[in-house]
């Protein structure tokens, strides 16, 4: 049994250990595809590790898809340590898929230099507490339910996660713009190619939550700047 030498194996204790930002990181470091292979459901040494892994990889692939990566570059599959041939077949098939897609930037919705920027945003989004909390609660909410005993379907959870991905990507794009210099909603919208009312909505939410404050008023449009919420509280 032989398989392609184009793969680099990274060993982890469990697919549940795959942190979503790792996948974004792999692409930023130049990988053309990432394949996560774990145990079959029910075979997990940690009981639910591979369920967590499936959700985490699913989330990473959805986020990367949203920022413009071809979702076929991420795969989650299962294979036990006794299924050598199955593993070889899976790797060969995935290798074939990636060969068809070509190097990163060839089969994507976004061109390469911009894609790298977007991947960085995706990595930030995936490493922040908001998404981590929802992902961590995913299996709990779909099986035993929340504090009020309300159970959610996987369909609903994914739909919620999709909107969170959308919100978070927009939020961190705006924050990155504001890190450079104070800007108005219109200026940011032009740079990010988003509709200005859309940008304003996120800016107002950020302001309400204490991340962004008013810098100056230029003519009729207010310019916003980043405020460190903790610093403000310590001063007060």
């Amino acid at each position: 049994m032989q398989y392609t030498t184009d793969v680099r194996i990274i060993r982890l204790m469990c697919t549940g250990r795959v942190d979503p930002p790792m996948l974004a990181d792999a692409f930023m470091k130049g990988a053309d595809g990432v394949m996560v292979v774990g145990c079959h459901f029910g075979d997990c040494h940690y009981i639910t590790g591979n369920y967590q892994g499936k959700i985490k990889v699913g989330l990473a692939s959805r986020t990367l898809d949203y920022v413009g990566l071809n979702p076929r570059r991420v795969s989650f599959s299962q294979c036990s340590s006794a299924e050598g041939e199955r593993f070889v077949n899976m790797v060969s098939a995935f290798d074939q898929t990636i060969r068809e897609l070509g190097p990163l930037g060839n089969a994507e919705r976004v061109a390469l230099p911009e894609l790298k920027d977007k991947l960085a945003i995706a990595k930030t989004v995936l490493s922040r507490e908001k998404i981590r909390w929802v992902v961590g609660k995913f299996t709990e909410f779909t099986t035993t339910g929340n504090k009020y005993g309300e159970r959610f379907t996987e369909h609903e959870m994914w739909r919620t996660l999709d909107t969170i991905i959308m919100d978070e990507v927009a939020t961190y794009e705006i924050l990155r713009e504001l890190e450079n210099a104070p800007a108005s909603a219109k200026e940011m919208a032009a740079k990010l190619k988003l509709p200005p009312p859309h940008v304003l909505k996120y800016v107002l939410a950020l302001q309400r939550r204490g991340f962004v404050g008013l810098a100056e008023i230029d003519g009729t449009s207010p310019r916003y700047q980043i405020v460190d919420p903790m610093a403000k509280e310590e001063a007060a």
């Binding site: 507490e129 909390w133 959610f152 369909h155 609903e156 919100d167 939410a205 309400r208 919420p229």
Partner: protein, 556 residues
């Protein structure tokens, strides 16, 4: 109680000032405010520009500290009644989902809250998080959670549609069906016949077309039946000793019996006709709901511990008084099976057969003299069923007469379209005035043309007759299907049951108990002719009422 009690609605500055004034005058004041905090939504208009400033009513602290003022926030008044010069209010209080005693206003929750929603204070201009402060200065935090989804709120049974449709999307069909059966035993039948008000309300309809909620329900129920998965029978190991009599074996009674069995109460079901199912069996034509499918579902419901006695008409085969003696509670769900008369001349002639009677005869397999022309009068779903059934029975021509136009017809539009497609002829703006006959047999129907006038109480334009426009349609059969009333002749007069002028029972809308303790009623016999899902829903509510009643009786 020496001091007079005053209730003030609304905690905006005017309400707060009024509360203070009343309290100072020695009244006991209760302040009810629908939003989570007092002071109204009085953020200053410059809030967008001037960071962190908010208008705070100077009276606010005084109101909070005043001993004579009780503040209820996050609450709505649901019901108000005046009696003997005083008011009684029912107030529903929503939970804030935040423990305000422990909250120290650190805002960490807001920074990590993953849910964005439109900020309704800013008229949707910006987003806010689901957990949010109400007013930056007073800092009352709450998690905004919407009420039921519109589909669930519209459904008379309040089925958890969001969940069961989501579970189908997940591929968990059996769990989805279990979810439906938490509130409705008739997934197979309702999935076939429901006029689905939920889909009319569905928000997806604004984007393209509504989610096919009803067909999805049918799909999961069919999945179970076609794959021969045994439906779960989930009843307690031991039943209580009390027994309940169910009069009628229709959707309302069987739903009631199903939920009683789940709570551990046995019931006995008395049915006048040879087979159970009520309007499902004898009202809905075979092509909409086939008998084997219905019986599959009913047999499963009966297997929960409901004893069925068919061909037992209460008042004839067994007296109402006997049932009252023998059983601890009675549920009346006999439906509305008597057609309303047209009140025109010649209605007693041979050839005139009422809509529900016609459908019942066909469903029982009785031969129909299907010759010549048939006229169906009415614009509801019973009329559509009668027309489509008579077309299937082999009448040469089927005519539907309706006194308004197609737009005002109460029948489901897809039923009207299907009937038109099948070749049923519709005549609008026509009203019958006399059945013409010879030798006791009907030969035709004298009609009058109408035109639409001003809207009446139901909001539909009232038909006005056109003078001198009489004409005769020749026909051998006439099927009036204008509406139905329950037949309550079995109820003894000395029983003291209140019967409304529509020949229905008047019940308490919480427990579904009639004015006589221990006698409950739901379904068409309580609402008048209505959709099946409402009968099922009210049957379940009545079951809850019966359980409460029996528990209270048992604990005495």
């Amino acid at each position: 109680m020496s001091a007079k009690r005053v209730i003030i609605f609304g905690g905006d500055p005017a309400g707060v000032a009024a509360a203070l004034a009343q309290a100072e005058a020695g009244m006991q004041v209760t302040l009810i405010e629908p939003s989570p905090g007092l002071g109204g939504e009085r953020l200053s208009q410059t809030q967008l520009v001037v960071d962190g400033s908010a208008f705070v009513d100077p009276n606010l602290e005084a109101v909070k500290k005043h001993p004579n003022i009780r503040i209820i926030t996050n609450a709505q008044v649901e019901h108000a009644a005046a009696e003997n010069g005083s008011y009684r209010l029912r107030v529903r209080r929503n939970t804030a989902r935040v423990d305000l005693e422990k909250c120290n206003d650190c805002r960490a929750c807001m920074r990590v809250c993953p849910i964005h929603m439109y900020d309704d204070f800013n008229e949707g201009l910006g987003f806010r998080t689901a957990i949010d402060f109400f007013n930056p200065e007073t800092g009352t935090y709450n998690i905004f959670k919407e009420d039921m989804p519109v589909c669930q709120a519209t459904c008379p049974a309040n089925l958890d549609i969001r969940s069961y449709v989501g579970l189908i999307a997940d591929g968990k069909y059996e769990e989805s069906l279990a979810k439906i059966r938490e509130r409705l035993p008739f997934a197979l039948s309702i999935g076939r016949v429901c006029p689905h008000p939920c889909e009319t309300a569905c928000n997806r309809g604004y984007v393209d077309e509504p989610i096919s909620i009803c067909t999805l329900k049918r799909f999961v129920a069919d999945y179970e039946m076609n794959n021969e998965i045994p439906p779960p029978v989930d009843v307690p190991d031991e039943f209580h000793k009390e027994k309940v009599a169910l009069i009628g074996a229709g959707p309302a009674s069987l739903s009631c019996g199903y939920f009683l069995a789940k709570a551990g109460y046995r019931s006995v079901c008395f049915e006048a006709l040879p087979e159970p199912g009520g309007m499902f069996r004898y009202g809905i034509p075979e092509y909409r709901l086939s008998t084997p499918t219905l019986m599959y579902e009913i047999n499963w419901i009966l297997s929960h511990g409901i004893e069925l006695r068919c061909n037992t008409r209460v008042g004839k085969d067994i007296s109402f008084a006997d049932i009252q003696k023998e059983y601890d509670a009675i549920f009346i769900g006999v439906g509305a099976h008597t057609g309303i008369k047209l009140q025109i001349k010649g209605e007693e002639l041979e050839g005139v057969v009422d809509g529900v009677d016609f459908l019942r005869d066909v469903n029982m397999g009785k031969p129909v003299n299907a010759k010549g022309k048939v006229i169906v009068i009415g614009g509801g779903n019973v009329a559509m069923d009668a027309a489509r059934v008579s077309w299937r029975e082999g009448f040469d021509e089927v005519h539907v007469l309706y006194r308004r136009t197609k737009k005002e017809m109460p029948a489901s539009p897809w039923e009207i379209d299907a009937a038109e497609h099948e070749g049923v002829k519709f005549q609008y703006l026509v009203a019958p005035i006399e059945v013409v006959g010879k030798n006791g047999k009907m030969t035709g129907l004298k009609c009058l043309r109408m035109q639409l006038g001003e809207p009446d109480a139901s909001g539909r334009r009232r038909p006005v007759p056109i003078e001198g426009s009489e004409f005769v349609i020749e026909a051998e059969t006439l099927i009036p299907a204008i509406s139905q009333r329950p037949d309550l002749s079995f109820v003894p007069e000395e029983g003291g049951l209140n019967i409304t002028r529509w020949n229905t029972f008047h019940v308490d809308q919480q427990t579904f108990m009639t004015n006589v303790p221990g006698i409950f009623s739901a379904g068409d016999v309580e609402t008048g002719p209505d959709i099946a899902i409402r009968a099922c829903a009210n049957g379940r509510k009545a079951a809850d009422g019966i359980i409460q009643y029996l528990q209270a009786k048992g604990s005495k």
